[in-house]
Amino acid sequence: MITIIMALVLTVSVHGQKPTLFIGAKAHLGNGEVIQNSAISINKGKFDLIADASIIRIDPNAFDTIYRIYGKHIYPSFILPNTTLGITEIDAVRASRDYKETGGLNPNIRSLIAYNTDSKLAKTVRSNGVLIAQVTPRGGLVSGQSSIMYLDGNNWEDAAIKADDGIHINWPNSYYNTGWWAEPGETKQNKEYENKIHEFEKLFTQAKAYESSLNVIDLKMESMRGLFNGTKNLYIHANSSSDMRDAIDFAENYHVKNIIIVGGEDALSIANILVEKNIPVILNRVHRLPKSQDSPVSEPFEQAKRLNDVGVLFCLSYEGDMEAMGARNLSFTAGTTIAYGQEYEKAVQSITLNTAKILGIENVVGSIEYGKNATFFISSGDALDMRTNNVEQAFINGVAIDLNNHQKELFNKYR
């Protein structure tokens, strides 16, 4: 009700500014709410009016353009966290791989300057509703810094939503496997584990000390500053419960402000800690095989619903094999969580507002709410089901983007 009253007031205020109106669509706001018959206007690149069209009166003269999209769906941009999209193009071609720097400790490395705004892959990904990605380096103990980018723009500078949003560290496995995968040997306590933890300790201890030192500029230390004052997130990539527990204790010990778990295969088993400490999780790809041969076949599909029920803040990612080109399936993985119990708008939230919150960009994007950047799209059908997903128009900051891509061009040539 409050939203609607607000909206009525706003209708008056937009007079004279000639915004664009989208009317009739089922609007999935990204914050868990849905408006069956929506009226949404955008003005100067921002969401302005968000209302129930069956309740308010619309004055057509108040708008430059009116899109009558009855029966269609509006979603805020799906957000793809933790991805190499834009810094890789063809997996097997080394020259196109720009995500893994040499050296084990690279907190100073920045993904955004390698970001290719004309990635052919990115154009196919946004054709399915993903307009924002957290472009993330890989490898080593400390991979480097991610940045959050629009999948559009002339250069990385223009495309950035948030530069250097956080540092990604790969928590070592406390156990490792000997042999190789066809003939695995014993799992041994990882003797290197302690050494690697020690490397982290050294790095973080020095970074703490550097905070108050004024003598020299050290690129690595400088890049770590934000972890302690809350301007940068610490993304800890870890999966087993014991590793996640150790990692969280470690980060808290150094008073890291924003801790985020990436991966979280065993997140359910430490849910109490995650809830108590308010630590969110960027989950592994939903479409994966179960953890072990003993696990229920549908275990990965059910994880989202179960985490939701115990109150853990999480979002979905697509990390893994072919993660860049496959990222256009992100929304279908959210669809799968619905088949396995998740409520529809919650599933939408797990690839929109939750992601924005976890990445720290929820004040500008992530949902269709007043004042946020008008980055959204229209699908003629349910965008979470591959059977019906059909993105007809997409907007970044209120500007329509070209949904053509390399693949559509080939299709048009050969059809």
Partner: protein, 994 residues
């Protein structure tokens, strides 16, 4: 009775000395004493026991045994006083006294040719010419460990390679090598593992199998020709008269070997790995005698619950069941030998043997498995394996029944004594009165084990003091060193002296007042006759306890996707019976088909009913290698040889509505291997998985994988390295195949008289398969990406007069769709994969639609175990991207792959008479929201969402039951740290097996 035996003494006394040809340094030792072992319990062979009898031995032979013998004059008599005598054991699987095979130098570049010089086989792993007899020399240290476990003779060979060579039968005495070498060649050995060979071929199990088969064929041909010499074939041919022993990796290898045995009519003896119980009926059917290890797995460390979670139920169940393996084999009447190989700590052999007895193996069967059976398998039953006049004097003397707790005192080998454990003759245990100047009439008790007694001297300590005993000499000391004594036991008294805390010596005497008797623990009935835990099929999570049976089912009121002219039927019924669809319609009356209680009804209102998904391109359920990557053409290898019915991905695919898969060779070479088409009959064995009478297919491949583009810069040797070369590989292969076929035709057209004079062409498995292609008796599914190569292969086929059946992946098929249509090729593609390598830069998700629209039979496949269980979602992408109709999209994963695999007469649609491969869905099956509730294969319910929950509960219970058992494990064996298994899966370009 006695007279003839004396005659035998005389004849045997004058035996030849083994070292007769050797010059003597010093004076000759010509005297050969006769030994008589009296008052013994002699088990001369399994089940034959002589109580209180005598064994007489001279030289290396047994002279006689009986309960009532005249002992020859001058014999040396050992009074065994009730000890036991058994024939010593025989181990058929040993590398005793042989040098270890060494790995050749590591090559950075692939090695395609053999590094071995000389006129030998082309493959380094094929070396039948290696002859253990030539390499053998006794190794006393190694012999000791065999002797201590009761062995007297072993069959030894170098355990390396595929055709390994011949083995020697050797004794374990300290006599000369000439005497220990009993038989120079007594068996030929084989395995599927290439071992130390650094040559590339074979890279897979299926490659090993083909190599074995081709070598057998080549040897036949070699016999008929005179143009060349090959020492490997000479040796191999010479070995054919020997027992043929094949070392296998696991329980699934038995049926693989059986096919070879059947093809070449060879009676193999199989050396297994202890997991035979998992497939025991299948193994019994092979009729192979088996040699099994008893290296039962140690318990896992389960104290940390999180790491214990890493141990699969499969491993837990294996731990529990492995000790039952020998008993289960015996119950199934499988002829069995037991080997000590595989046991890391030699002390575990007898321990594990006794465990096997407690798990139900009879002592007779155990003894036979160690003596008479191995002896007869190598035709040595007249010399070894039992105790009879004239046989070798190989026997052990034990304190008691060896299968219970009997300790081995002596192991006589070739008539030579070896002391294993000194017999404790004196029983000093009892209740004594101790006297010295310091202590008057104090009590001391000596109790415990006969040879390891413990003394308690209450005056000093209420606990036992340190007690060392050697025969009748005793040494006692307390823990602070204040009392240290030595004494000697004679006739119930111990006299000696000790030093006290002040360093003063005192004499003492102890008089035994009464004897000590140890109470034996009685085994409960449960411990004596343990119930064998059940084996599931497969023996892991989600395995079936009982195989599902065909059902009569009425599916009522479903939305039926028929894939036929009827399209999608609303509110309709289907009836299945005996594995087939027998009726389709609305308001069907089951009583027209069945009696009242002979069917079940499933209310399918709100459910969608479809035929099962068929995956044209899959690499699940394959053992040890999906690529034979060592040659550009490997048409001889067969996935059908290496199906792994235990792969849990079979169950996972069923949960996603899949019922059948084509298991393909990878794409590492232009002509890959022969595929296998299976139904996902979870719980069945490998052969039962295969679809009977299905047409035969073979995998071809083009592009980056076959030219090794992404294998690293060192892999640039194997031809071809470009697409240009790929074309030439095909022309070359098919021209060779045609010439080969002509040669056979010429030969077969000869009159029978002429044929006798002529030499038959060499049968070549690779060319056989290629000829089948030329004659359209085998069909190609070809991994392909770009238009140039697709077009090229169609030209090759057209010029040779056959068709390419299917292009698989075919991501640029849309560019040549009309040519494919014209050629008659089908396409089996990915829905939306692209950009993972350079050649798929122009792959588009509209491909399936464009192919379909051009009239090409189009399927969507997985090539991936994860995607294989949600192929319905992939089919839906043809609707999304290309706007293919829903019915057509659905056919892309059902009817169309059935057509491509030539199975559409039986599968792929809901039609009367077709197989009852049926899936029920909660929603439109193309929707991301659709879940499978049931999957039927041949009318058997293989997956059911409710039953799946029951299995989960059952598995959880079973897991905790075994973990509790494991926690109680007191075997003292080192616990195994749990493994965190990261599952990796085969894809097209997975190169190596090992």
């Amino acid at each position: 009775m006695k007279i003839p035996r004396i005659i035998i003494y005389l004849t045997l006394c004058s035996q030849i000395f083994a070292q007769e040809t050797f010059p003597v340094n010093g004076v000759a030792e010509t005297f050969e004493p006769i030994y008589a072992f009296t008052n013994a319990n002699i088990i001369s062979s399994p089940g034959v026991k002589y109580k209180n009898s005598t064994l007489i031995v001279q030289g290396n032979k047994i002279l006689a045994l009986d309960s009532n013998l005249n002992i020859p004059k001058g014999a040396i008599i050992y009074d065994l006083d009730g000890d036991y005598i058994y024939p010593s054991f025989i181990d058929l699987y040993s590398d005793y006294g042989l040098p270890k095979a060494k790995k050749g130098k590591y090559h950075y570049r692939p090695q395609y040719k053999s590094n071995k010089t000389g006129a030998y086989h082309w493959n380094e792993a094929v070396h039948p010419e290696i002859n253990a007899g030539n390499e053998f020399s006794s190794n006393h240290k190694q012999a000791e460990s065999y002797l201590s476990n009761g062995f007297g003779a072993v069959v030894t060979h170098t355990q390396d390679g595929i055709l390994r060579g011949s083995a020697a039968l050797v004794a374990l005495s300290k006599k000369s090598d000439n005497e220990n070498l009993l038989v120079r060649e007594c068996a030929a050995f084989y395995s599927f593992k290439k071992g130390m060979s650094t040559q590339k071929n074979p890279t897979s199990l299926m490659g090993s199998i083909s190599l074995v088969r081709q070598t057998f064929l080549d040897a036949e041909w070699y016999k008929s020709q005179k143009d060349q010499n090959n020492l490997s074939y000479d040796a191999f041919i010479n070995q054919q008269k020997l027992p043929q022993i094949f070392a296998l990796n696991d329980e699934l290898d038995y049926s693989r070997l059986y096919k070879i045995a059947d093809e070449f009519e060879i009676d193999f003896i199989a050396k297994g790995n202890g997991k035979e119980f998992l497939r025991v009926t299948e193994i019994a059917d092979t009729d192979f005698p088996v040699i099994i290890p008893i290296n039962f797995p140690n318990a896992y460390e389960v104290s940390n619950p999180e790491t214990a979670d890493w141990i699969s139920l499969e491993k837990l169940k294996y731990w529990e069941l492995a000790p039952y393996n020998p008993a289960i084999l015996a119950q199934n009447k499988i002829k069995m030998c037991i080997t000590s190989s595989g046991i890391k700590d030699s002390a575990d052999f007898l321990k594990n043997l006794r465990i096997a007895i407690t798990k139900g193996l009879s002592k007779e069967d155990a003894l036979a498995a160690l003596t008479t059976t191995p002896a007869s398998l190598i035709s040595m039953e007249n010399i070894l394996g039992s105790l009879k006049t004239g046989m070798l004097a190989n026997f052990i003397i034990t304190s008691n029944d060896i299968f219970e707790k009997g300790e081995i005192y002596e192991n006589w080998n070739l008539g030579e004594q070896n002391i294993v454990n000194k017999k404790q003759v004196f029983d000093i245990r009892g209740y004594y009165t101790f006297n010295s100047d310091e202590f008057k009439n104090k009590s001391i008790v000596i109790k415990g084990e006969l040879s390891k007694p413990k003394a308690i001297f209450y005056q000093l300590d209420s606990a036992a003091i340190i007690t060392n005993l050697s025969q009748n000499k005793l040494n006692l000391s307390n823990y602070d060193g204040s009392f240290r004594a030595i004494g000697k036991f004679i006739n119930g008294k111990i006299n000696g002296r000790y030093q006290n805390k002040n360093g003063e010596y005192y004499n003492f005497s102890m008089v035994r007042d009464s004897l000590f008797f140890k109470k034996e623990k009685q085994l409960t009935n449960n411990e004596l006759n343990p119930a064998t835990p059940k084996t599931w099929f497969p023996n892991k999570a989600f395995g079936f306890e009982n195989p599902p049976k065909q059902r009569n089912v009425l599916f009522k009121n479903a939305t039926i996707w028929t894939n036929e002219a009827e399209g999608i039927l609303q509110n309709s019924d289907v009836i299945i019976s005996k594995g087939k669809i027998i009726a389709i319609g609305s308001l069907l009356s089951p009583l027209d088909y069945f009696k009242e209680d002979e069917f079940e009804t499933i209310d399918a209102s709100n459910l969608h009913l479809t035929s099962g998904i068929i995956d044209e391109h899959s690499h699940i359920a394959i053992s040890r290698g999906v690529n034979e990557a060592s040659q550009a053409v490997s048409a001889e290898v067969r996935i059908g040889d290496v199906i792994n019915p235990n792969d849990h991905n079979i169950y996972r695919q069923l949960s996603g509505g899949a019922v059948a898969s084509q298991l393909l060779h990878g794409s590492a070479n232009p002509v890959g291997g022969q595929s296998a088409i299976i139904k996902l009959r979870w719980g069945s064995d490998a052969e039962e998985m295969k679809i009977k009478n299905a047409d035969q297919f073979i995998k071809f491949a083009l592009g980056e994988n076959v030219k090794q583009s992404n294998w690293g810069d060192l892999e640039n040797e194997r031809f071809p390295q470009t697409r240009m070369g790929v074309e030439q590989v095909f022309y070359d292969a098919f021209y060779r195949a045609r010439a080969y076929e002509n040669a056979w035709d010429d030969y077969n057209n000869l009159s029978s008289v002429e044929r006798k004079k002529a030499i038959a062409p060499r049968e070549d498995l690779e060319l056989n398969a290629l000829v089948e292609i030329l004659n359209s008796e085998r069909f190609i599914t070809c991994h392909s990406y770009v238009q140039s190569e697709i077009n090229m292969l169609m030209h090759v086929a057209d010029s040779m007069g056959f068709k390419i059946n299917t292009f698989t992946h075919i991501l640029e098929g849309y560019k040549v769709a009309n040519k494919m249509k014209e050629h008659g090729a089908g396409g089996s593609t990915f829905s939306d994969w692209w950009a993972y390598k350079f050649e798929v830069n122009e792959a588009i998700p509209y491909n399936a639609t464009l192919l379909n629209d051009a009239g090409v039979v189009t399927a969507i496949n997985s090539d991936d175990a994860e995607m294989g269980r949600r192929l319905n979602q992939e089919a839906a992408k043809a609707v999304k991207y290309g706007k293919t109709s829903e019915e057509d999209a659905w056919k892309m994963i059902t009817l169309n792959p059935a057509i491509l695999l030539h199975l559409d007469k039986k599968m792929g649609s809901i039609k009367i008479g077709k197989d009852a491969d049926i899936v029920l869905w909660t929603d439109n099956p193309l929707s991301v929201y659709a879940k499978v509730t049931q999957t039927y294969v041949d009318g058997k319910l293989m997956f059911d969402v409710e039953f799946d929950k029951k299995l989960q509960t059952r598995d959880k219970k079973e897991r905790i039951r075994i973990i509790k058992l494991m926690s109680k494990d007191k075997s003292g064996s080192k616990k195994i740290q749990p493994k965190q298994t990261i599952e990796k899966l085969y894809h097209c370009d997975t190169e190596y097996e090992e």
